[in-house]
């Protein structure tokens, strides 16, 4: 069974790889490379897979999940400039893909136990663009 909880945060970012020239960055990222930055209302859906506990009937208490998401994701990300205030985005381009992976890495140690594991992290940058991340499994097919 897969259970999902949603949280939101608002943040600004610049899509810019410091190893590339200004021109290359503009060509790769377009408007998103604007050096002053811009922002989004991000929506994050975190899904856990596991069996309901025979006693409680829950995969994980959603209240506990909410507390973990607020502590690990909303607190560090909300109303921040990701490139300047939220490592690793001082070194890693804060694309939606990399944000999904960072959220996965922050949450995984708090959510995976003997009877459940983190299944996916979905990050909406806008209602028309979202990324699903399934962990470090290699792309084979």
């Amino acid at each position: 069974m897969v259970i999902t909880r949603k949280v939101e945060f608002s943040a600004s970012h610049i899509c810019r790889n410091p190893q590339l020239s200004d021109e290359e960055n503009r060509e790769l990222f377009g408007l998103a490379a604007n050096p002053h930055g811009h922002g989004h209302n991000y929506v994050v859906e975190v899904s856990l897979q596991g069996d309901p506990h025979p006693l409680t009937g829950m995969v994980l208490d959603l209240k506990e999940l909410k507390e973990i998401l607020n502590r690990e994701i909303v607190a560090p990300y909300d109303h921040r400039f990701l490139n300047y205030e939220v490592p690793p985005f001082d070194k890693v381009v804060p694309t939606t893909e990399n944000i999904a992976r960072d959220i996965w890495q922050r949450l995984e140690p708090h959510l995976t136990s003997a009877d459940r594991h983190l299944y996916s992290v979905r990050v909406y940058e806008t209602p028309d663009l979202y990324v699903d991340y399934y962990g470090e499994q290699p792309c084979t097919t």
């Binding site: 899509c15 590339l20 694309t95 893909e97 992976r101 663009l129 699903d132 399934y134 290699p138 792309c139």
Partner: protein
């Protein structure tokens, strides 16, 4: 592994009518959707690709290129069109949303390598919502 999904919309009209069947049978089979004058929908399609994030860009794909492919292959030919009369694939095939999903997926899969020539990203899935309550999905691997 990432899946990246982008949402698009187009408006089109269609009529569900199977030529091989009689008028009464078509009415019974398709109901309101068999209205001879046709009717329309605001279709919402989601195109999903899969792959690793590129080390240099941190992205699975360039969304601008995906937009260009979807615009050329789907939005321009389908938007504000009568699917039965103006899209060749539906001259002999009933434009149900199932068949529309197959056609969209086939067009994107056939032309994918012109925009994304490398091993990654791969076209993963098409999801089409005819209305908010009627939703159809097809994986690219299901298409020949």
């Amino acid at each position: 592994m990432y899946h990246i999904t982008r949402r698009y919309g187009f408006a089109a009209s269609h009529r569900l009518h199977a030529r091989q069947l009689g008028a009464e049978e078509n009415r019974r089979l398709y109901g309101k959707c068999n209205n001879p004058y046709g009717h329309g929908h605001n279709y919402v399609i989601e195109v999903s690709a899969r792959g690793p994030a590129d080390e240099r860009t941190g992205r699975v794909l360039d969304t601008g290129r995906l937009d260009q492919l979807v615009r050329n292959q789907v939005l321009t030919p389908f938007d504000h069109r009568n699917l039965n009369a103006e899209v060749g694939a539906f001259h002999d095939v009933v434009p149900t949303s199932e068949n529309l999903a197959i056609e969209i997926c086939r067009r994107l899969k056939t032309n994918w390598s012109t925009v994304f020539p490398g091993e990654w990203p791969k076209l993963h899935k098409i999801r089409i919502a005819e209305t908010e309550r009627n939703i159809f999905e097809i994986e690219a691997d299901e298409i020949q």
